[in-house]
Symmetry: D2
């Protein structure tokens, strides 16, 4: 089987999640479209990156990400570094002919995100922005049901990503540093809500938002709230917060259409709540356990009823990208491209502008050539 050399940037949360995905892929998603060969891992702390290399099985490590860009054995850069390290290595790798997977948010600003998209798209490599929640089986099933028309015309999307770890004022992480992170909850959690809304419902047309920082001394946003409109005419709300006590990873969303509704909560990621009209006396939301043989990605896993974990969504994501690389198929629509990454940034910034200016912001998106 053909191999692809992988260079990983980052060894922390995302480094672990992606490395695990590459390792599992080759035997769970059998036969793999390409066999990932873990060539090198880059990170700032020498001890930590050396340990990560041993732990996950990378052939070598480096504290200088340029080593990955110049390594000819590497065909794919997986960028799981802090947000401030998304743009430059990703562009450099693509311009060196490597396919690229970049964690979300694509850039710290819409401008930076657009730059990454524009320059990477120009190279012709495959690019995927790490909105891994598109690869939750229940989310993919939702998309397929919508595509089949099971919900009819979509009218509402209400999505909220609730976590609670941000409550501690003594916490110190790059995620609270505007220079490294670009934004706070917005880029971290809000972009996930925005991306899934776009994946499931379609493009946004306007946002009316409020951005809020609660914790004293914090330099990034703790929460965003927005009323939103979609091009299709659907309306709804978008929320993200790190201060919803008791909610650990509650990315919850509901979609209402003219023939049915869907509800999802990431804390129960194997379940999709489905309401379809026409049931008469047994009408009600069904708790669909998305583990059936004919459910998305389930050929990789176990018999029905045996649930998958959060980490497994990355196996699906990486598999999707490797298949695109292997057979030339499009990353879109099921994978988020860098255009999707850019657009999520643009929508996020519109929420920030709306909050600052007190106006509902109509969305306009730059084309690929706008920045040239």
């Amino acid at each position: 089987m053909a191999e692809i050399g992988v260079g990983m940037l980052g060894y922390a949360f995302m480094g672990k999640a992606h490395s695990n995905a590459f390792r599992k892929l080759e035997y769970m998603a059998w036969p793999p479209p390409l066999v990932p060969r873990l060539v090198a891992i880059a990170g700032r702390n020498q001890d930590a990156v050396a340990t990560a290399a041993r732990r996950y099985g990378y052939e070598r490590w480096t504290t200088d990400w340029h080593d990955i860009v110049t390594d000819e054995r590497i065909g794919l850069l997986d960028n799981g570094g802090p947000n401030s390290l998304h743009a430059e290595p990703t562009i450099a790798a693509a311009e060196a002919g490597k396919h690229v997977l970049c964690e979300k948010p694509l850039g710290r600003t819409a401008d930076e995100s657009h730059e990454v998209w524009r320059r990477v798209a120009a190279t012709g490599v495959k690019h995927l922005c790490g909105f891994n929640y598109r690869f939750v089986p229940a989310v993919r099933l939702a998309r397929e049901l919508i595509d089949e028309g099971a919900l009819g015309e979509l009218r509402h999307f209400r999505g909220r990503y609730l976590q609670d770890w941000g409550d501690d004022p003594t916490l110190d992480t790059w995620r609270f540093d505007p220079d490294q992170a670009g934004s706070g909850t917005l880029g971290d959690l809000g972009t996930h809500v925005i991306d899934l809304a776009r994946y499931l419902v379609g493009e946004f047309s306007s946002v009316a938002g409020i951005v809020k920082t609660f914790v004293s001394g914090r330099r990034v946003d703790d929460a965003i709230e927005a009323a939103v409109e979609f091009e299709s005419g659907a309306v709804g709300t978008i929320e993200a917060t790190r201060l919803a006590l008791g909610r650990r990873n509650a990315f919850q969303w509901e979609i209402n259409g003219s023939h049915g509704s869907l509800y999802f909560d990431m804390e129960r990621l194997n379940e999709l709540q489905v309401f379809l009209d026409g049931e008469d006396r047994t009408r009600g939301f069904r708790t669909v356990l998305v583990t059936e043989a004919n459910h998305p990605f389930m050929d990789f896993w176990w018999p029905p009823g045996h649930i998958v974990g959060w980490g497994d969504t990355f196996v699906h994501e990486v598999h999707h990208l490797l298949r695109s690389i292997a057979d030339g198929s499009d990353v879109a629509p099921h994978g988020a491209t860098f255009e999707d990454g850019y657009r999520a940034s643009e929508i996020g910034e519109a929420i920030v502008r709306s909050s600052a200016g007190g106006r509902r912001e109509q969305l306009t998106f730059r084309s690929l050539t706008d920045g040239e």
Copy 2:
């Protein structure tokens, strides 16, 4: 035991709910503060109102509400008529010295609501606006927990009232007639969300909203969406729709504070989800079945675990008002006064203005004397 004569306006949904409350009150909330005597019921359709009188035990019926205002045996007007009949009879009854209970929304507009408040307050009678959801045991418990500081500083409120009966374009009811209803989902469901937000979290400071009509030919709003701020600094979202298929009466809200969180769904109105920090390895939302002897209103009902119904919330509401009448105690804070009714209207209109003008609206409320 002392009696109070009751005059009812309206025999449909609210007429039934309130009549049942008056009938149950005297033996379930034992001993009752006042024994309601059902003197008269008024309605437009002669056959229907006559049947209602027999059914619910009113001593007489009339098709002219003025008969109630002039009936000296009546000490309380309960106005459950369509919204267009809220202002005039309510003011007239109060000015005739009768206490008044008026269904929500208080008026069809903020102006009308303010007028009702101003003129009724001037009479000195007791007035209660029919936000019955304040009288759900779980809601009262939520308020008590918040008052005790169990949640700490409040940061988020996200409330949505989801129904789905509005999907049928052939439906014809006064609720779709702007003249009779004033607004659509906003006045019907949105005001409930606004009122509970005020009751539980405090006063609003700004709203950024979107108002939407989906059904072709409909002349009132089908849905509202808003990002909101409270005077306390809390932020969140407000939603109401009649087009969320599968949601029949899903008034759902969540509050997050610095020490805990609450979640509620009216379709499971006997339950309050409670998260309190400090639980270490058994942290998690508790499903509190609000039926314990030391839970609000439970001295009226059954042993623990035996749930109450939606209709029972009106028993609590009417009991509260009769007690205020009997002993002169304030309707506020647990009952919604006409000032609360007016403010809910004001906030609703701000959402409409925000949607139309594309701006976040800062809220200012008129005082009692503003309209004089």
Copy 3:
């Protein structure tokens, strides 16, 4: 409208529940088959029964239940007294030509229950044993779905009635006195499980049980556990306990058939979980909120989504009996007759015998004439 005079025995928990049902019936179940006239209430404590008469509106009270039997204005005895007072007054009333409603368990023993059934049946009056859970809308819907064949051939019933108030060793009530109660959890909760199993699945054929008392000094059973077989071939389990901490009124049951399954929990009595085969990718249990216009009993109540309470089940029960009295229709199959009451006792005793003797007990039921 025709009236029926009601004589109530008992003013405590069941006295309150039944009195409320008679009072609500006449306007909620409109038009009522008969208008209940609350003639008299009997109880042992003079002050308490006098207060109850005033509270619930009985025309008179007595401390001697014989007064009810001899009162010619009374057409229906409702016996909500302690178990030791079930047999004699019920038989006497029936032999005086009054219809009878007797709380469960019908008697303290199978012999006593059979005697009540035999002697009351001989009089020709209508008789209903107070298994009110047959009148939960979701339970009736379950029965109707089963009758329609929606579940196919039934294979499993697992039912458990879990409460936790029995944990306190200092509690003193007639329910812990073998002379007054006959048994403990078995007669109180276990008979409910047995009755619903018979109503939904059919007759029992054998039981293999364990009966247990945990609390030191208690003279009745705290818990029963049984593996059971039905005549149809279905198998399952029956449990009842007053020592399941955290479960307040959790009468939970599940039925599995060859085409579907049902699940129910009395703490959420407005919901029926329904699984029906053939759904392919959206297979899953539906949470049916049993409040639709075409759901059982819902013509009495509110629009969809507005739930009923535990107390409302008695309105349905009493309505059913009054209709049978009014039009001569059978109490069975939806109402439990005294034969059903007797059979529940027989099955309960078989569990006790099985526990004592260490054998699975095959069930045989006496006919109406067995005891003569």
Copy 4:
């Protein structure tokens, strides 16, 4: 890091689950107690075993399991073959000095299970019976809470393992062949219930059971039902079925003690429902998401709120065994030893005897030397 050579028997469901565990272990459970080296895999079908070897990375494959027993590079036999292949290879491997992991049920009969235990124990190797559900984080947390006394004295265990794939009469698998499987649902699912009951509540003292086959022509049991007693005095029920439509992998159990209760459902395996007394007005079952840093096994995985999958329980199981091998620590109490495997078989057979003989069976267990 030290290595251990692994020989795998079986390439189907369990072969995949265990192989995945060995592969993930070395980087997720970092640093691993021993690094598993996948030396050989054995299976009956040559093409299938060859593919499995390539897929999972075994160095070689064989259709003769004796090759594993004689391979000196192998230090651990993992037996995931059909039940009829549990005893002989497991004993042979142990007698060849290899540690052994054998899937449940340990043998097809209690005699066979005892033989395996006796002969393997005599060799002194480490032995673990594959009751992987002991390694679900929520189950381990339950055990720890019980060990700490959080539940007080245990009174009830009700456990049921519900699946629905057995409904199809055309299905043909070794699991329906008495010679290969020994029993049907009993050995497959019932033993899991029995084992967790023993792990969490303690030893059984008696069982009164019913064993049932529904599907025409099927030669093994489809369902078992039992009322059970524990040595501690706790009582409850045990059930297992492959015919509970809609339940895919619903291993549900509840434990009630004198200070609290626990509830679990394998279809939501990351959650433990916990009730603890003393909460007053906020009493209720907590939904504990068992993903906190101080929850069992969570140092292997992700930040709080990011759930693990069913397959991950095998990583925990294999890690536990490798640590025992590496440092000589006991497999018990958290791992099931072959004595546990034998006892589960003994209890299962007592249920079968009880069903056949119509008597409650008192349990007696053979000691290690009984069969010599």
